[in-house]
């Protein structure tokens, strides 16, 4: 087959489109680095002075490192527990689909995908307060539990494509069900766990609503929540506000720059398999 030449028309169109994506991000970086006088001269121009004091002020105003720590603790714990527990529940279900209990359980979990969060939003605050769970630990538990609906759907589909003979051989050799799961199945789930891990990580890190309704103590606020709470304090100091936004966006952007191929690949893989 002949190698087709580069299609320049499409390359140019795609490049123009990508400018629409990049423009707001350019504005964010440039406003975060300017001071009001430079803004008055021209909003669009590149920053000349590089006012890093905006960042220092934003870090102080929003207690940035505390919020960063909270977001990291919440996201990392949720993802780890989601991968360990949700896959295990899915494994038990996938290998017992002939049993009525597990079959009902499967449909019970996945039917929750259709329940809008708003119907539980008001009562769940009451329930979590009764359990003294309106804090970071409670939030992590809720992310892990709410993940079950979608993750069981994806994991069960994947596990059922793994031949059962492997496990039968292990059982013959005297391995327990737990041992079989941890030593044989869990490692085999790595590709789909990557997909689920990436999706959970992004949705937990960027979630706003659950922290908003659940977290009572200001010291436990996450990065998005802090931006919301300090809107009033930023006032018309847009340089301060944008420095704060940029700081809040940066950790995930750094992760993305390094793991871009892996992140997009994981989502592509998940889309094709399920």
């Amino acid at each position: 087959m002949m190698r087709k030449a580069t299609n320049w028309t499409i390359t140019v169109l795609i490049a123009l489109g990508s400018l629409l994506i990049l423009f707001p991000l350019y504005m964010t970086i440039s406003i975060a680095l300017k001071n009001p006088e430079e803004m008055a001269l021209s909003i669009f121009s590149l920053p000349t002075g590089l006012h890093f004091e905006n960042f220092r002020n934003a870090i102080e105003a929003t207690n940035f490192f505390n919020a960063l720590k909270n977001s990291m603790v919440i996201t990392i714990s949720s993802v780890v527990f989601i991968l360990l527990t949700n896959s295990m529940v899915a494994y038990a279900i996938a290998r017992n689909m002939k049993d009525k209990f597990f079959k009902v359980l499967y449909f019970y979990f996945i039917s929750a995908m259709f329940i809008p969060f708003q119907i539980i939003m008001l009562p769940v605050v009451k329930v979590t307060t009764d359990f003294h769970m309106n804090n970071i630990v409670g939030l992590i538990i809720l992310y892990v539990v709410y993940g079950l609906a979608f993750n069981i759907f994806v994991y069960v589909g994947y596990i059922r494509s793994i031949p059962i003979e492997l496990e039968e051989a292990a059982t013959m050799d005297g391995a327990s069900t737990w041992g079989t799961y941890w030593k044989i199945i869990f490692p085999l789930l790595a590709p789909i766990s990557a997909t689920i891990g990436i999706l959970s990580c992004l949705s937990t890190w960027n979630d706003f609503m659950l922290p908003l309704i659940l977290l009572g103590d200001q010291n436990s606020y996450t990065l998005p929540l802090v931006q919301y709470v300090f809107q009033g304090q930023f006032g018309t100091d847009f340089n301060l506000a944008f420095a704060s936004y940029l700081l809040a966006l940066t950790p995930m952007v750094i992760v993305y720059l390094f793991a871009q191929k892996w992140i997009i690949g994981g989502i592509t893989q998940g889309a094709i398999k399920s």
């Binding site: 087959m1 707001p24 597990f102 019970y108 706003f208």
Partner: protein, 288 residues
């Protein structure tokens, strides 16, 4: 064998209990309170039967929020799907710097919806207006978010800017599943690009189209973060989505029971729409 069974129960029962406690039980509670007049903090409440439900259908604020949410969700769903399909076709073509552009188009997906909303809020009020003034248009030189008739378009723009990313990646994944030789055959038959798209690409993308439509519509109907960041529901109540109404009325307005009834109706609406969408789109998949 009994030991195996016990292990399987131990793997699932704790999850079942937790899920029931924090998902099913609150949902049942929500339905229960929908039949009361509880304000969310009083000691006592009374049963009022279907009164809340009847009132909701007469409540102008509720009706407005449904009209806005549907108008918004439908427009966003269509725009996101058309644009992300076009971009995916472009990224799948023979272009330079393919990986770089793919990375750029996916970037919005990793950003916080709320913070992106705050950034656009500023762009709408202080940047796009400059362009509007340069174009000499009085309409474009005003902040669109401050205009009760047009603020919803501003929210659509932000949602589309960000929402395209994920759907593009899904379409791109779909395009990569189409075997190359199908195109070679159609090339030999002398089929044009457009014909090729209609008779090969689009039918083979059918299942991806279904999932993208359902996902985009669902997140459109749940819109919340963007509105908090862009308009707070205003001007007036012109951009108050259903989710925002339930949140503000339920937590701040002393309407816990009333908004629970609203949430029950909203739940039924979402179920019906998801079911209809799946049925209609899957039937189309079969026909193709």
């Amino acid at each position: 064998m009994a030991k195996r069974r016990i292990a399987f129960y131990l793997m699932t029962v704790p999850a079942l209990l937790l899920f029931f406690t924090f998902h099913t039980f609150p949902a049942i509670q929500g339905i229960f309170y929908a039949f009361t007049n509880w304000d969310g903090f009083s000691e006592s409440y009374d049963f009022v039967g279907f009164k809340n439900f009847v009132n909701i259908f007469k409540d102008e604020n509720v009706i407005n929020s449904y009209v806005f949410t549907f108008k918004y969700a439908i427009v966003v769903t269509i725009l996101i799907n058309v644009l992300s399909l076009l971009i995916a076709l472009g990224l799948n073509a023979k272009i330079k710097f393919k990986n770089f552009f793919r990375g750029v188009y996916f970037l919005p997906n990793i950003l916080s919806v709320l913070i992106v909303g705050f950034i656009f809020n500023y762009l709408f009020s202080n940047v796009f207006t400059i362009w509007g003034a340069k174009l000499g248009s009085e309409f474009l030189s005003q902040n669109i978010l401050g205009n009760a008739d047009w603020a919803w378009i501003g929210i659509v723009i932000v949602a589309v800017w960000q929402g395209i990313a994920f759907n593009t990646i899904l379409y791109l994944a779909g395009l990569q599943t189409i075997p190359r030789d199908l195109y070679e055959a159609s090339n030999l038959d002398g089929a044009g690009k457009f014909r090729e798209f209609i008779s090969i690409t689009f039918p083979l993308l059918a299942s991806f189209f279904t999932i993208n439509m359902v996902l985009a519509m669902k997140s459109g109907l749940m819109v919340f973060d963007q509105i908090i960041a862009l308009t707070g529901g205003g001007p007036g109540r012109s951009t108050q989505s259903i989710a925002l109404l339930i949140y503000t009325g339920g937590f701040q307005g002393g309407e816990f029971a009333y908004q629970s009834a609203n949430a029950v109706i909203y739940f039924i609406v979402i179920i019906v729409i998801s079911a209809l969408q799946l049925k209609f789109l899957q039937k189309r998949e079969m026909d193709m």
